[in-house]
């Protein structure tokens, strides 16, 4: 008999990722077939499952959360759309609906473009793409179709009219692209009975499917861009439709609504430039600041020509806030020490456990330790529910050079794509995922969960779990360490870092907002000290939403390792109007900040460092005090070495400071290690790690002004070696030597 697959029946999320003592955090959970669960606040001491790491450990903290709770099923409702409440849409007798469309999945089921349509009752009217991908008008249970499917990813004009006086319905399609010999237009006209008023708001990119907890639900989602949607209260002829196509139509007698998606760009609102000012709301954050049908190709920055960026790209798998009902609200104890915590849910029937993680920061406005771990929560969000290993098939086996292995979290994700995607994934229509939120269950942000494709048989931790050993190590070393997060840094800036003598990064602090980056640079310039204990850090620029909590935006532009590629002309964040992409292309080379920058990645086996001659100079030899020999880190829980997965190299040509000293370099990487595209300007058979001396991690140390300093290891797997052999190892020793020196206020060099 085939054994049953491991199951996961409970998932949840919190409304916050960083909470100060005394503040309140809410937890939302879904239980499938779990009648009751016990809850407890736990401090995560070790999230490691590796046989040579610190055994998994957590400590129960008595709190008001203690107790048993009723489980209930809650569902993520994916798919983005807009809704506009209020008259006169439901009562329109005669009408025109028109828009420019750039469909990305025509023919993949019926998709509603706009209308006033109650999906369950089948009442009202809507302009749709029918199952064949042709423009159609639906009134009640009847419809007429223009008959000619729209081309995928080509702008097209579509319109539907109804004249209540004559009972005539008409639908029109005209492609903006012209291909001689192809009939890219269609039209149909027929008599239809008038629409019965629908108990529905006006919606765009979906039909209305009722409400849940007061939130509107969509159905029959449209995939693609919608631009210049218009509504009129009469059946316009073709010439009159044309007058409404301008981005800002003149006030026309019959105009009812003219939404201008170029307005209120950085918000979840849409604005109506028509006479009724029927502004609407977006659900699940479709992608904004998209090139419109009228983009000229001469402007690349939407803030300079918003009228050319009036399109919104809707996806049937967009998710922002799952919006679940809270299971419990917990006011944290006033004296709770800073650290990694979780709400632990234990099913009463079979003991299944779910942990919803968060960090406790020190009380606002003060530090409770001399050193802080900056939890890279923006990077955790970028990787939230990453699906490469789940969806990648045999390609991933070849890419990773080992088998993938699915645990209950991966199998849950495989069955629940509706939970939403990461910045590494594509939407169902093939477009890139530009927004990622933490207001939904994040299955790979769980203590004790390894990545399904990184490390042999999915045994390597990634991001959150790869960082937890640093806190475990500090605790075992007796080093008090606060935890602060990217979100705290983004909102509070330099003031958050200023009290600390040293800041330690996580294993892969890859995604940085401008406010975060500014704060770190200012901290270093004023004498702060940074221990960059990871690889491929400070790489991508992201934008936090200025109003909505818990969501970031990324544009994968220009270069770098890009699991999807932003379209030309769509390089500016909608949230902020800032240029997106790689920090190194924006006058802030990673090498200048950290001394090193991204050199290579590979995901099979890790390697080790060899000390350089310079490291024996008495000026730096203290870094290696207590370390025997020249080899550092030839062991570890991540690929078996301290130098691996993603590694960074010293390169003065890219901005590495000339006074930085390279203390050690890794060697002997495997043939799955390759430089990133930004390091490769022509192809060659000499690129891989067995032949390419540029594939290496360099460990560097350099002073910054006013007594500051930077120590960088340039390897994701470094932290995975810290607790090996009960912390009695060279990686632990080097890290401790540097940290203790960094806590000593004497400058590294005299100014």
């Amino acid at each position: 008999m085939t054994p049953a697959l491991p199951r996961k029946r409970m998932v949840g999320y919190a409304d916050r990722i960083s909470v100060a003592p005394g503040e309140t955090i809410r937890f939302m959970a879904s239980c499938e077939g779990v009648a009751r669960y016990r809850a407890a606040l736990v401090r995560i001491l070790s999230g490691d499952r590796h046989p040579q790491g610190t055994p998994f450990a957590e400590e129960v903290v008595p709190s008001a959360a203690d107790g048993t709770y009723a489980g209930r099923l809650q569902v993520v409702r994916a798919g983005s759309f807009a809704h506009v409440d209020g008259a006169p849409f439901a009562g329109l007798r005669s009408f025109t609906l028109q828009a420019m469309l750039w469909p990305t999945a025509p023919g993949r089921g019926r998709q509603v473009v706009m209308g006033c349509r109650d999906e369950a009752a089948g009442t009202g009217y809507a302009l749709v793409l029918d199952a064949a991908g042709a423009a159609a008008l639906e009134i009640g249970g009847r419809s007429i179709s223009a008959g000619v499917p729209l081309l995928e990813r080509a702008w097209a004009f579509v319109a539907a009219t109804y004249d209540a006086a004559t009972g005539r319905a008409r639908v029109v399609y005209e492609s903006q692209a012209v291909y001689p010999g192809m009939a890219l237009k269609g039209e149909a006209e027929a008599a239809l009975p008038p629409p019965a008023p629908a108990a529905a708001p006006f919606t765009l990119a979906a039909a209305f499917a009722g409400t849940e907890h007061g939130r509107p639900l969509g159905a029959a989602f449209f995939n693609g861009k919608i631009d210049i949607p218009r509504v009129a209260d009469t059946a316009l002829d073709r010439a009159a439709m044309e007058t409404l196509r301008r981005p800002a139509p003149a006030p026309a007698r019959h105009l009812v609504a003219a939404w201008d998606f170029a307005r209120a760009m950085g918000t979840d609102r849409i604005e109506d430039a028509g006479p009724h000012r029927r502004h609407g709301r977006l659900v699940n954050l479709p992608t904004r600041a998209m090139k419109g049908h009228n983009w000229t190709g001469e402007t690349f920055a939407w803030p300079q020509a918003p009228e050319q960026y009036g399109a919104i790209h809707f996806h049937d798998d967009d998710v922002y806030d799952a919006g679940w009902l809270p299971d419990l609200s917990l006011a944290l104890p006033d004296d709770l020490p800073s650290g990694a915590y979780a709400l632990r849910m234990t099913a009463e029937d079979d003991g299944e456990v779910e942990r919803i993680p968060f960090f406790v920061r020190p009380p606002r406005g003060r530090a409770t330790a001399e050193v802080a771990f900056l939890a890279p929560t923006a990077s955790y969000m970028a990787y939230a529910n990453e699906r490469a290993g789940i969806d990648g098939g045999g390609y991933l086996h070849a890419f990773a050079n080992h088998l993938l292995a699915y645990g209950p979290e991966d199998l849950w994700l495989n069955a629940h794509a509706e939970v939403g995607l990461s910045h590494y994934d594509h939407h169902s229509d093939g477009s890139g995922v530009a927004y990622s939120s933490r207001l939904r269950p994040i299955l790979n942000l769980r203590p004790g969960v390894t990545n399904c494709w990184i490390g042999a048989a999915g045994t390597a931790p990634w991001q959150y779990n790869a960082d937890l050993p640093l806190l475990d190590w500090a605790r075992q070393q007796g080093i008090a360490c606060d935890v602060i997060t990217d979100e705290d840094l983004h909102h509070e800036g330099l003031a958050l870092l200023a009290p600390y003598k040293a800041i330690m990064t996580g294993s892969h602090p890859e995604y940085w907002s401008k406010a975060m980056y500014d704060a770190l640079q200012a901290y270093l310039a004023r004498g702060g000290r940074l221990m960059y204990l990871g690889g491929n850090g400070f790489y991508w620029r992201v934008a936090f939403h200025p109003e909505l909590p818990g969501v970031i935006e990324l544009r994968r532009t220009e270069d770098g390792i890009r699991d999807w590629v932003a379209e030309g002309g769509e390089y500016y964040h909608a949230f902020t109007g800032e240029y997106g992409g790689m920090w190194s292309r924006m006058g802030r080379p990673i090498h200048a900040l950290a001394g090193i920058g991204m050199a290579a990645q590979g995901f099979d086996v890790s390697s080790y460092y060899r000390r350089t001659a310079a490291s024996h100079d008495p000026a730096h030899a203290w870094v290696f005090e207590g370390v025997a020999g020249d080899i550092v880190g030839d062991f570890g829980t991540v690929g078996g070495g301290a130098a691996g997965l993603e590694v960074d190299r010293y390169d003065p040509a890219q901005g590495s400071p000339p006074h930085a000293v390279v203390l050690a370099s890794s060697e002997m990487h495997s043939d799955t290690y390759f430089p990133p595209p930004d390091e490769v300007h022509n192809m060659s058979a000499l690129l891989d790690g067995r032949q390419n001396p540029r594939v290496r991690a360099d460990m560097v140390l350099f002073p910054t002004p006013n007594g500051g300093a930077v120590f960088s290891v340039g390897s994701i797997s470094w932290i995975g070696s810290l607790t090996w052999n009960g912390c009695a190892n060279s990686v632990s020793r080097v890290t401790a030597n540097v940290l203790r020196r960094f806590l000593d206020p004497r400058p590294l060099v005299e100014d």
């Binding site: 098939g393 048989a457 086996v605 495997s670």
Partner: protein, 102 residues
């Protein structure tokens, strides 16, 4: 097989022996070609189900793409990633050549 893929016979005993010695990590160029071919030229890829972290795995197959079912294969249990890699190597060798590897 696409014309662009070279036709050198990669199903050579010495490559199987090399893989058996080192299932995970650095491989010779010809073994790399063979592995890439075995791993990518299949409709449903072999994957593992982890039943107990770092201790216990089973075999399954899954097609590329969203929402494809994970289909368990057989009832064999593996105690290490290396054991599982060798088993998948043998299965793919058999599927692609008809030949059993001892």
């Amino acid at each position: 097989m696409p014309a662009a893929v070279e036709t050198l016979n990669l199903f050579r005993r010495e490559l199987a022996l090399e893989f058996r010695r080192t299932p995970i990590g650095r491989h010779s160029p010809d073994l790399r070609l063979l592995l890439n071919r075995m791993r990518t030229q299949q409709d449903a890829a072999y994957v593992l189900i982890c039943e107990e972290p770092f201790r216990r795995w089973r075999l399954a197959r899954k097609k590329r793409g969203r929402g494809q079912a994970v289909e368990p294969v057989g009832d064999r249990v593996f105690a290490s990633p290396e054991e599982a890699e060798w088993e998948v190597f043998r299965l793919r060798w058999k599927e692609m050549t008809g030949e059993e590897l001892a």
